[in-house]
C-alpha cells in the first residue's frame, strides 16, 4: 500500500515514461543494470516497473547511504525492499556479489548500478566487475540494460531540491555472457548496450 502510493507519487513527480525496447515486462529472474546520475535513479526505475514485477525486484544500494538515518533505513527496508551492500570495507563475509547471488537464488530480480557511484554527463563510465561475476556464476539470468534520461536534471548530484522535469526510462533487449567472453569485453558490451538506449 505504502509502496504502491510511493511509486505513483514518484511517477507523478518525474512524469516518468517507460519504453520497453526489445524487452517485455515478464516474470523472470532478471538483473536490470543502469547508468547512475542522480539519487532518484533507484526509486524512479523501481517505480517505473509494473507493480507485480516491482514486488519481486530489489534495488541494490549502498549501505553507507541508506543506513545513515532511521527514515532512510525505513524506506530501504520496508518500501523499496533494497539489498544494501558494502561499498568501502569489502571482506569475504560481506562481499556484495555473494549477497546478490543469494538474493537471485531466493527468486528476486535486481536493480544494479555498475558504475558504482553517480557521474554527471550522459555517457555511462566504465563498469565495475560485479556485473561480470553475476553473469558468470548465474549464466541463466537475463541482464537488461536500462538508460535513465534527464534524472540528473531533476536532481543533480549535490542538490537537495528537485526540479519537476520529465524523465525517461528505456529498457533494452537482454544480454547474456557469451561462452568465451572475457571480463573487459563483457563489461564494455554491457556499457555500450546502456549507452545505445540514449536518445539525443
Amino acid at each position: 500500500m505504502i509502496a504502491e502510493s510511493t511509486a505513483v507519487l514518484i511517477r507523478l513527480l518525474c512524469g516518468a515514461q517507460t519504453r520497453w525496447v526489445g524487452a517485455e515486462p515478464l516474470f523472470r529472474r532478471r538483473v536490470y543494470f543502469c547508468n547512475h546520475t542522480s539519487n532518484l535513479d533507484t526509486v524512479v526505475l523501481w517505480a517505473a516497473l509494473p507493480p507485480a514485477l516491482r514486488r519481486l525486484t530489489r534495488p541494490v544500494a549502498a549501505a553507507d547511504y541508506w543506513k545513515r538515518n532511521a527514515f532512510r533505513r525505513y524506506l530501504a527496508d520496508k518500501v523499496f525492499h533494497a539489498l544494501l551492500i558494502e561499498r568501502h570495507k569489502v571482506t569475504t563475509q560481506n562481499n556484495p556479489v555473494n549477497a546478490m547471488l543469494a538474493a537471485l537464488d531466493e527468486g528476486a530480480s535486481l536493480i544494479l548500478f555498475p558504475e558504482g557511484t553517480r557521474h554527471p554527463g550522459p555517457e555511462p563510465r566504465p563498469f565495475k566487475s560485479g556485473l561480470f561475476h553475476l553473469a558468470r556464476k548465474r549464466p541463466d539470468t537475463e541482464f537488461f540494460p536500462v538508460y535513465l534520461d534527464n534524472l540528473n536534471r531533476v536532481l543533480p548530484k549535490g542538490e537537495l531540491l528537485p526540479v519537476p522535469l520529465l524523465a525517461n526510462v528505456a529498457i533494452g533487449a537482454p544480454l547474456r555472457l557469451e561462452p568465451d567472453e572475457d571480463k573487459a569485453a563483457f563489461l564494455e558490451r554491457a556499457r555500450l548496450a546502456v549507452w545505445a538506449l540514449h536518445q539525443p
Binding site: G15, Q17, P120, N152, R153, V163, P164, L166
Partner: protein, 315 residues
C-alpha cells in the same frame, strides 16, 4: 461553496457536447470506410483526440461551475505542466538548477496568486520585470558562464509563454466590464472556444482541401486553405456567440477573427520551436494531441491580446 451557473453557460456546454457527439458519429463513419494503414492511423488519432476532448471539456466545465478560485488553480496547473514540457525539451545546464527551482515553485505560484487576488499591477509586471531580472541573476550566481545568454533566454521564454501568456485566460475573470459583472466566465469560454474551434477547423480544412503549405519547413500540415477556411469559419461561429459577450455582433466577429489569427501565430511559433529541437510533440500527456503545450500553444498567443483589447476598450 458558491456554484456559478447561468442558462447561457448551460447552453454553451450543451452546444460543445453536441459538437463532440457529431464528431464521434463522423469518426465512426470514417472508421467503417475501407482504407489503407494511413487511413486507419488517421482515424485512430482522431478518436484519441476526441477521447481527450471529452475529458478536457468535462474538466473545464466543472472548474468554471466550481468558481473563480478553481479556475485560477486549473490554469496554474496547466502552466506548470506546460512549463515542465518546455524546460524538459530545452537543454538547460547544471548551473540553472536553482533558477529552475525558483521558476517552478516560487515564480509560477506567486504569479497565479496575483491573478487570484486581482492584483493587476503585479500581475502585469511581476514576470516581465522582477522574474526576468532575477532568473539571470540566480544563474549567474551559480557561476557557470557556458552558453549563459542562451540558457537564460530559454528559461525566460518558457516562463513567458507557458505562465505569463497563459495566465491571461483566467485573468479575464478580474476585468470589471460595465453591465457584465459576474459574467466574465463566459468571456473565458468564448476565448477558449474560438481558439480551439479555429485549431480544429484549420485541421479539418487542411486535411480535406489543403494544397499550398504556408511554411513547409516549419509545419508541413499548415496550409493556406486550412488557414483561411479555419480562421474564417471559427470567426463566424465566434460571432454567433455575441449574446454571451459584452460586445456587439460586429465587435464579436472582429475579436473572434483576432483570436483565431493569434491562435494561428501561436501554433506556428511553437512548431518552429519543436522543429528547432527536432521533436514532433512536446509530450504524451493528452493522447492524440501530444503534450499539454501542443494543445495550448494557440491559446498562449491569443489570450494576452484578447485580454488587453478587452481591458483597453471595454472597461
Amino acid at each position: 461553496m458558491n456554484l456559478y451557473f447561468d442558462t447561457q453557460i448551460v447552453w454553451l456546454f450543451a452546444g460543445v457536447v453536441a459538437l463532440l457527439g457529431l464528431a464521434a458519429v463522423v469518426s465512426t463513419i470514417l472508421a467503417r470506410r475501407p482504407g489503407g494503414p494511413e487511413h486507419a492511423a488517421l482515424v485512430e488519432n482522431l478518436r484519441a483526440r476526441l477521447r481527450s476532448w471529452w475529458i478536457m471539456v468535462a474538466i473545464i466545465f466543472l472548474t468554471i461551475v466550481a468558481g473563480e478560485i478553481f479556475t485560477v488553480i486549473l490554469f496554474a496547473i496547466v502552466s506548470f505542466l506546460a512549463l515542465r514540457e518546455f524546460i524538459t525539451m530545452t537543454p538547460t545546464h547544471r548551473g540553472d538548477h536553482r533558477a529552475l527551482f525558483w521558476t517552478f515553485f516560487i515564480i509560477t505560484p506567486l504569479h497565479y496568486w496575483y491573478v487570484g487576488t486581482h492584483w493587476f499591477g503585479m500581475f502585469a509586471i511581476f514576470i516581465p520585470v522582477y522574474a526576468f531580472l532575477f532568473i539571470p541573476l540566480r544563474s549567474a550566481l551559480a557561476g557557470e558562464s557556458e552558453r549563459y545568454l542562451e540558457r537564460t533566454a530559454k528559461i525566460q521564454w518558457g516562463l513567458m509563454v507557458c505562465v505569463y501568456c497563459l495566465s491571461h485566460v483566467p485573468a479575464l475573470l478580474m476585468l470589471p466590464i460595465e453591465g457584465y459583472e459576474g459574467e466574465n466566465a463566459k468571456l473565458l469560454l468564448f476565448l477558449v472556444l474560438v481558439v480551439q474551434l479555429s485549431d480544429v477547423l484549420q485541421y479539418v480544412f487542411g486535411k480535406t482541401l489543403g494544397r499550398r503549405p504556408i511554411a513547409p519547413r516549419i509545419s508541413p500540415n499548415k496550409t493556406w486553405e486550412g488557414f483561411i477556411g479555419g480562421v474564417l469559419t471559427a470567426s463566424l461561429l465566434g460571432a454567433c456567440l455575441w449574446k454571451i459577450t459584452p460586445y456587439t455582433p460586429w465587435q464579436t466577429f472582429g475579436l473572434a477573427l483576432l483570436i483565431a489569427l493569434m491562435g494561428f501565430a501561436g501554433g506556428l511559433v511553437m512548431s518552429a520551436i519543436k522543429r528547432d529541437r527536432g521533436i514532433k510533440d512536446y509530450g504524451v500527456l493528452l493522447p492524440g494531441h501530444g503534450g499539454m503545450m501542443d494543445r495550448i500553444d494557440s491559446l498562449c498567443f491569443a489570450a494576452p491580446i484578447f485580454f488587453h483589447i478587452t481591458r483597453y476598450y471595454f472597461t
